[in-house]
């Protein structure tokens, strides 16, 4: 497993909002060690039995939390992220969708300068099945096992985890890096973490059209990754010039096509699936080969 485990102490920024409260409850039910919520002006109250603080600094001082899941509204996310980083939080999972991308860029600059890991924004978060859940992934779909997953998509991750779980391929950790063009951690850092993680046998990379992150991941895979990688790219039939749901999912100027990404990944030695069903088959094959070798 990477990034988080059952001992990770987590706070929730925006814990008393509608979405924050609902997911705080779900995360607690999953077993996540939620040690505090943060909502300015609501300090001293509780939410689902968890103490609420006015500031992240106070929450960190009182609880020793090292990770934060952020559910604040889009225009407050930069402030919330900077607050977490300044208070010593080491891992920020930014769920919020619709953040102005220039705000994200400023937050990325801030967290990079402080060596804080940022996941998201516009992401479902992280799950280490059976241990902890930081975000909004539906815990019931994921099972413990040896497949490490990295994905730019939310529900597509659930879909693929579902078919993998059904086929007996549980997951070490799944990380949704988010669908925005500018974001925190990307493929290379996470591929590298999974490569070093003894609990991960096979890595599943779920990409989509837009940008060149998958092409760069391919280069990284060919140079640095020893474990088998199964890749799937969504948007193989997407028309050019149209934004396909995610702010980052657009083929522009002939760049960012699924074809280009699949080609690069194949050339890097990854197994490239065209449907979720094929992902399962390829993981089965890869794990079979691992057993034989």
């Amino acid at each position: 497993m990477i990034l988080v485990n059952k001992d990770t102490k987590v706070i929730v920024q925006g814990a008393t909002g509608k979405m924050g409260a609902a997911h705080t409850k779900r995360m607690l039910a999953y077993g996540t060690k939620i040690v505090g919520g943060v909502t300015p002006g609501k300090g001293g109250t509780t939410i689902h039995g968890v103490p609420v603080f006015d500031t992240v600094r106070e929450a960190v001082d009182a609880t020793g939390a090292t990770a934060s899941v952020i559910f604040v509204p889009p225009y407050l996310a930069l402030d919330a992220g900077c607050e977490a980083a300044a208070a010593g939080i080491g891992l920020i999972v930014l769920i919020t969708e619709g953040i102005p991308p220039q705000d994200t860029a400023k937050l990325v600059a801030n967290t990079r300068a402080r060596d804080v890991r940022l996941i998201g924004p516009n992401c479902p978060g992280i799950i280490t099945p059976g241990e902890t859940l930081l975000g909004i992934l539906p815990g019931v779909i994921f099972k413990p096992g040896p497949v490490g997953m990295i994905s730019r998509s939310g529900t597509l991750t659930y879909e693929i985890a579902l078919v993998l779980s059904d086929a007996g391929h549980g997951q070490s950790t799944c990380v949704g890096v988010g669908g925005d063009p500018v974001k925190g951690m990307g493929y290379p850092e996470l591929l590298s973490a999974f490569n070093d993680d003894p609990a991960t046998e096979v890595i599943v990379l779920i990409g989509e059209i837009g940008g060149s992150a998958e092409e760069e991941a391919a280069t990284f895979i060919s140079e640095r990754i020893k474990k088998p990688v199964v890749a799937y790219i969504a948007g193989q039939t997407a028309p050019p010039g149209k934004r396909m749901g995610h702010a980052g999912a657009i083929i522009s100027g002939g760049k960012g096509t699924a074809e280009s990404k699949m080609k690069a990944l194949k050339a890097a030695g990854a197994h490239v699936a065209t449907t979720p069903g094929e992902v399962v088959e390829m993981v089965t094959t890869a794990r079979g080969q691992l057993l034989r070798t």
Binding site: P101, Q102, G211, E216, R243, G245
Partner: protein, 375 residues
């Protein structure tokens, strides 16, 4: 949100960027009010690209020629986009053309300057392009680095760097996705002027940019009516040419469903991401706008509940089926509160399919039957 050239230039001007004098014209006879001399440049105001090649820019030597050209240009449609108005400017004596823009670089995760000592070009296909990442907080030396790398020197370096700093300020203060000057011209009098300008405002930032308040609806003209109405509801609809309407929650899952429909031999008619956490009302709107498309024979609804509660979706389906027969529907629904949803839908006779691949195949099968019945 794409802006028209005249809107972009007005914003540039507010940030101290030199633009040519200009007048927006919606009728040929308005040319008589032009306050600067001939020859004139008349430019179609459209949101699509490729205006020059399509003949959307003309020069007039006198009023008579101008009125004739204006009449002709005002009727043009370029790249599917109708001419909204004309921007009329005096013809500028150009000594040199450059390219300059600011945009966000997704790979580096920061804004970048893009510059070229060659202007009026397709920047994607040009060889002479330099890019400079822009650290935050901004300092003007970044613009000088850019101008230097563009190969400029002397006064021109300073003038272009100054303009680049203003362009960045505009980009940051107005929350833009793109601020582009192409071409940036050096006049024979050594003035540096934005001869053409393009701005894309960031959609997610419109709520904090009072300047753009109320602008959105009139700038969605390159979308179909249904795409446009969806956008205003906060939904992402892309219309395609098939007969299977696809609705899913989440962009990646919608794309994957579309890819599977195509792969197994079906033809997608819509890509509609209803988003995470969408409520009953929004889901109903989504079902109706897909059903409204006359090409749609089958609606494939694929919801994997993460944030989305299945019972909310079921509620929308129950309402939808009051007006629309369930026979066109193929529903894959799985996730939170799935049992409640199943119960709600059991009465309607709508069968839920728990797995995606069978659902896709069912939708394709049904689309063939219904398309056959229609022909």
């Amino acid at each position: 949100m794409n802006l028209y050239e005249y809107e972009a230039k007005s914003i540039f001007s507010q940030f101290g960027i030199n633009i040519p004098p200009g007048m927006r014209v919606t009728k040929p006879e308005e040319l008589r009010k032009v306050f600067f001399g001939y020859p004139l440049t008349l430019k179609c105001q459209v949101l699509s690209g490729g205006r020059g090649k399509a003949g959307g820019i003309k020069f007039a030597r006198d009023l008579k020629e101008g009125e004739a050209l204006a009449k002709q240009l005002l009727e043009m449609t370029i790249g599917g986009s109708r001419t909204e108005s004309l921007l009329v400017e005096p013809k500028v004596a150009i000594a040199r053309e450059l390219y300059l823009s600011v945009t966000l670089d997704r790979e580096q995760g920061c804004p970048i300057f893009i510059g070229s000592a060659e202007g009026g070009i397709e920047i994607e296909s040009s060889a002479n392009v330099v890019t400079v990442p822009i650290p935050y907080p901004y300092q003007p030396y970044v613009a000088r680095d850019l101008a230097k790398r563009m190969g400029l020197s002397g006064n021109l370096l300073s003038k272009v760097a100054d303009l680049a700093t203003r362009l960045y300020n505009c980009f940051e203060k107005m929350d833009l996705d793109l601020a582009e000057v192409n071409p940036l011209v050096v006049t024979e009098g050594e003035e540096v002027v934005a001869l053409d300008g393009k701005i894309i405002a960031n959609d997610d930032s419109l709520g904090r940019q009072p300047y753009f308040k109320g602008w959105q609806s009139k700038h969605l003209v390159d979308l179909s009516d249904r795409e446009c109405r969806s956008r205003l509801m906060g939904l992402n609809l892309v219309e395609l040419d098939g007969n299977i309407g696809i609705l899913c929650n989440g962009a990646g899952l919608t794309m994957a469903t579309m890819d599977m429909v195509k792969k197994f031999g079906g033809r997608p008619a819509t890509f509609l991401d209803v988003g995470g956490g969408s409520d009953q009302e929004k889901t109903l709107f989504a079902l109706e706008i897909v059903a409204e498309n006359p090409n749609v024979d089958v609606i494939l609804l694929n919801i994997l509940g993460g944030i989305t509660a299945c019972d909310d979706v079921a509620g929308a389906l129950v309402n939808f089926m009051k007006k629309s027969p369930e026979s066109r529907l193929v529903v894959r629904l799985r996730g939170n509160n799935q049992e409640i949803a199943e119960k709600m839908l059991a009465e309607s006779g709508l069968k839920l399919i728990p797995d995606l691949e069978p659902a896709v195949k069912e939708a394709i099968e049904k689309s063939r039957t219904l398309a056959g019945a229609r022909n």
